[in-house]
């Protein structure tokens, strides 16, 4: 089902619609078919204007079996279209899904337009006579029948999908032919039968001139790391232990070794962090990626990186916790851990991506800060951002920031080399092994200011604690101010971070369309916060902070700025819908 969704997305992007997707699948690899927990769903919103979320209430639901219908019908808008695979609504599947009677036969779907299509039967008929094709293989092609039908309904270009099928299944002629036949049969079914009263026409969305492609958050983040490597001249070393949903970044990077990208699948999460840190000591761009449970394990190593003051990027693709939690579901509840989750005083910069394609820029920004300030940086993404995709205006390479590693190589200073001396940003020199005359030792024990020698001096420890904190705090001077979108001079500010961006903007847009006044702003830097944050907070009567956690940013804002900001929380493993945020905004106007 995820494959079918991807194909529809591709064709939709190529057609020029704006889009946002929401894949939703179980943690089990091949969860039992027909069961409620085994349902794999793919949601997409696309439009002839720019859109910001995968949509709250789909207009069309394609349900391949009773379980899929049962788990998703609640989302559908009133009067929406339900296309069901009629063949799968048999007694066994109905029972598995917990239906006493078939919803197709009672009046439980009365509020919707229901289309019963025997997709299995039609697919089998369409694939008859393909040499070497088993019945089982023929049945599997039914997802492509559904894709063909929906592609017809929305006038998607067919060539791109047909070409993809031909290439993807080039090695298995009978499967390729079956999928092509099913896809065409689905399209033709829509075209020739009179079952469907409507065919939707969604014109291309107006967009800024340029060349576009669809990109997922995971790929955008990986490409951002590659771009930062190219723009800094530092070879990328990415060490990671397989974990959902961060593994996608490892997969993507491992395909690009021609960029001198070294990927290393480590024996565990701790090793991955240390491998990346060791590579950073050697003058590489060290990065590691994981999700919540892996962050727990990396904490001590991140603390070491704080002490060593070496560049290191730690990517946390957040998922619902605690513990194993909901591994494939969305949540953004690692903010406190990113900010404070280490023993001792161990401050570090935190950057959060806010949209799938923007993961590219967020990755470059994380690297820029890490390299410029010689510090570990935590880059927060989440399951929704990682798995979702959207059209991306491909940037020109020359427009990307240049990152200067500024290695120290000159051993001629008469004072001798001081590994913990500092520049105007409080960053220390980065000297890589192999540099003659600058041999030095660093470690996790407290450093003497300047020399970096082991020091137990009480005053020195306090001074070093302040220097490390001051360095991170000073980054506020080097990041953009918090930008407020407030066309109507509102009293209420909705302030967010991370993947809630789209839902917050969409909700505000709807409120404004009914003459409501609401301001919005979104953090990409969570540590340090932009310099003008206090001023922005002070200029609004009410501040609402919607978060996919129990109120982590709002707690920081209240503690740091003594403002009565209010939180709004959701922890259901799914992103915010814009309607619920719209309601929360309206309540406060």
């Amino acid at each position: 089902m995820q494959l079918t969704g991807d194909r529809f997305t591709s064709a939709t992007g190529l057609f020029g619609n704006d889009l946002v997707t929401l894949p939703d699948f179980p943690a089990e690899i091949r969860a039992p078919r027909g069961t409620l927990h085994g349902v794999s769903a793919f949601q997409i919103q696309f439009a002839s204007r720019d859109i910001l979320t995968p949509g709250d209430e789909p207009s069309v639901l394609v349900a391949m079996n009773p379980a899929a219908l049962k788990t998703n019908i609640g989302l559908l808008e009133a009067g929406g279209a339900v296309i069901v695979n009629d063949d799968e609504f048999n007694a066994r599947n109905l029972e598995r899904a917990g239906y006493a009677t078939s919803p197709l036969d009672d009046d439980s779907l009365a509020g919707y337009r229901v289309f019963r299509v025997p997709m299995q039967t039609l697919t089998l008929r369409a694939t008859e006579g393909i040499a070497g094709l088993s019945k089982r293989e023929a049945e599997r092609a039914k997802n492509f029948f559904a894709l063909g039908l929906v592609s017809w309904m929305y006038g998607r270009p067919v060539e791109v999908t047909e070409q993809w099928i031909a290439e993807k299944f080039a090695g298995k002629a009978e499967i390729r032919d079956a999928n092509l036949a099913a896809f065409r049969a689905g399209w033709n079914f829509g075209e020739t039968t009179e079952v469907f009263a409507v065919r939707y026409e969604v014109k291309p969305a107006p967009a800024a001139p340029g060349v576009y492609r669809n990109i997922s958050g995971a790929a955008a983040l990986a490409w951002g790391l590659i771009a930062a490597s190219v723009r800094s001249g530092l070879p990328l070393f990415y060490a990671s232990y397989p974990i959902t949903p961060a593994s996608e970044i490892l997969h993507e990077l491992s395909r690009h070794k021609n960029f001198d990208v070294r990927t290393f699948q480590a024996e565990d999460e701790i090793a991955a962090a240390n491998l990346a840190l060791g590579a950073a000591f050697g003058g590489h761009l060290g990065a590691t990626g994981t999700s919540g449970p892996g962050m727990d394990l990396k904490a001590e190593t991140i603390g070491l990186a704080v002490m060593l003051e070496l560049p290191l990027v730690i990517v946390d693709v957040q998922r619902a916790g605690p513990s194993t939690g909901l591994p494939t579901k969305n949540e953004a509840s690692d903010l406190m851990m990113a900010l404070y989750g280490r023993h001792g005083e161990a401050p570090l910069p935190v950057v959060a991506a806010y949209a799938p394609a923007q993961c590219f820029d967020a990755a470059i920004e994380a690297v820029r800060i890490a390299v410029t300030y010689r510090t570990p940086v935590i880059l927060l993404s989440d399951t929704f951002l990682g798995n979702s995709s959207e059209p991306w205006l491909i940037p020109a390479v020359d427009d990307l920031p240049v990152i200067d590693p500024a290695f120290t190589t000159d051993a001629s200073s008469s004072d001798g080399f001081l590994p913990y001396s500092r520049d105007e940003r409080l960053a220390r020199p980065w000297v890589v092994p192999g540099t003659p005359g600058l041999e030095h030792r660093i470690g996790g024990l407290e450093k003497q200011d300047g020399t970096g020698a082991v020091s137990y001096d009480p005053g020195n420890h306090e001074r070093m604690t302040a220097l490390r904190a001051g360095k991170v705090a000073g980054i506020a001077r080097d990041i953009p101010p918090l930008e407020v979108d407030d066309p109507d001079g509102a009293d209420l500010l909705v302030l967010g971070w991370g993947s809630t961006y789209g839902a917050i903007r969409a909700a505000a847009r709807r409120v404004r369309s009914r003459a409501g006044a609401v301001a919005t702003a979104h953090f990409t830097h969570l540590s340090p916060l932009p310099e003008n944050t206090g001023d922005v907070l002070a200029s609004y009567e009410r501040v609402l902070v919607p978060e996919l956690n129990s109120g982590q940013l709002v707690r920081v804002l209240r503690a740091e700025y003594l403002v009565a900001a209010e939180g709004y929380s959701k922890m259901q493993g799914v992103p915010f819908g814009f309607a619920e945020l719209e309601r929360e905004i309206e309540r406060r106007l």
């Binding site: 591709s10 992007g13 020029g16 791109v160 800024a208 001139p209 340029g210 060349v211 576009y212 492609r213 490409w223 590659i226 771009a227 190219v230 070879p235 070393f237 060490a239 690009h256 070794k257 021609n258 960029f259 001198d260 070294r262 290393f264 480590a266 024996e267 565990d268 701790i270 090793a271 240390n274 491998l275 840190l277 060791g278 590579a279 000591f281 050697g282 003058g283 590489h284 060290g286 001590e300 190593t301 070491l304 060593l308 940037p395 020109a396 390479v397 890589v432 092994p433 192999g434 540099t435 003659p436 600058l438 041999e439 030095h440 030792r441 660093i442 470690g443 996790g444 024990l445 082991v454």
Partner: protein, 337 residues
């Protein structure tokens, strides 16, 4: 190659060692400082990486590049460095608690991957820095602060563990025997891939005399079984004792006069099959009787760092040297005018 004293001095960082007086670590430090210059590798190309424990302080005293990392993770950090920078000579200094307990996972995985790192395991069979708890190499029943009724743990045999983890180079030596220690380090330095060297190191405060049998003037000739490649394994003041292999593959110590020299096992460190080395590792479970020292195993196989570099070259040949603009513009794209 003889090394002048003034050159040796350049390899000391000048930081004053803070180990307890009489600690075996001093002897190892002195041996390494005088041995490194003879390798002919510039000082700036060496990196020492250590974990936590008394051995961890080692890096501060050698005038090379160094990282004093966190407990158990030195080998993981060193692996990243060595794989990223194959031009460097990377050495890990670790202890029995650091590498066999908290860092055990990294040790076995570094060994199987064969990363280009030399691992010096200072084995004193005790936790010294935390003031005397039993370690994973302490004997069963050991009375310590944390085991007043005796330790229940069965100890690791570090060499057998390393061999089980597919190590390509495995050796054992003694802190106080400068010549033997230097010889083993020389062989380790010449090895491509991971070299695992267990150094019996006396902790004179918490576990004094653990290796006396092997180091005391009176007993050492009777108990050091010095392994030499391609030579019959025999020992004792007159070479009167030797090692034979039983029918089941295990090893046994015999009087040479009883079996004849031809019956002795001839050491083969380069055999592709680790069985002989494994049997030798089990010849003595504790260093309290005749114990083999020297190079148990030294074989060549794929080295991880080199293999990764080769793969990068293959990727460049197959995909072309990476071009960012081409990557960003790859796949299905569309233009908006």
């Amino acid at each position: 190659m003889a090394v002048a004293a003034k050159d040796r001095k350049a390899w000391a960082s000048g930081e004053e060692p803070r180990w307890c007086p009489g600690c075996g670590d001093y002897a190892i430090l002195a041996a390494i400082e005088s041995f490194l210059p003879e390798l002919g590798v510039p000082r700036e190309k060496f990196v020492f990486v250590s974990g936590i424990g008394c051995s961890g302080r080692f890096v501060y005293y050698v005038n090379t590049y160094g990282v004093h990392a966190i407990h158990g993770r030195a080998l993981a950090l060193a692996s990243g460095l060595a794989v990223a920078r194959p031009d460097l000579s990377v050495w890990v200094v670790t202890g029995d608690g650091d590498s066999l307990s908290i860092g055990g996972n990294h040790l076995i995985h570094a060994l199987r991957r064969n990363v280009p790192v030399k691992v010096l395991l200072f084995n004193n069979q005790i936790y010294g820095l935390t003031k005397g708890q039993y370690s994973p190499t302490s004997e069963e029943g050991k009375i310590t602060k944390s085991t007043p009724f005796g330790a229940l743990d069965h100890p690791f045999n570090p060499l057998a563990l390393a061999l089980g983890a597919e190590a390509s180079f495995v050796a054992r030596t003694l802190d106080v025997d400068r010549a033997h220690l230097t010889g083993v380090l020389r062989a380790a330095a010449a090895h491509r891939g991971t070299a695992f060297v267990e150094i019996y190191q006396n902790c004179n405060v918490f576990n004094d005399g653990a290796f006396d049998t092997l180091t005391d003037k009176q007993t050492r000739a009777l108990n050091q079984i010095r392994l030499e490649h391609d030579r019959p394994i025999r020992f004792g003041p007159e070479g009167e004792r030797g090692v034979v292999q039983r029918g089941d593959g295990s090893m046994e110590i015999v009087n040479v006069a009883d079996v004849g020299e031809d019956a002795l096992v001839v050491h083969d460190a380069h055999h592709h099959d680790p069985s002989l080395a494994f049997a030798l590792a089990h010849l003595s479970e504790r260093p309290t009787g005749p114990t083999p020292i020297g190079v148990f195993r030294s074989v060549e196989r794929q080295v991880y760092g080199q293999a990764l570099d080769d793969q990068l070259a293959v990727a460049r040949a197959r995909l072309g040297v990476g071009d960012l603009a081409s990557l960003l513009g790859s796949g299905h794209t569309w233009a908006v005018a």
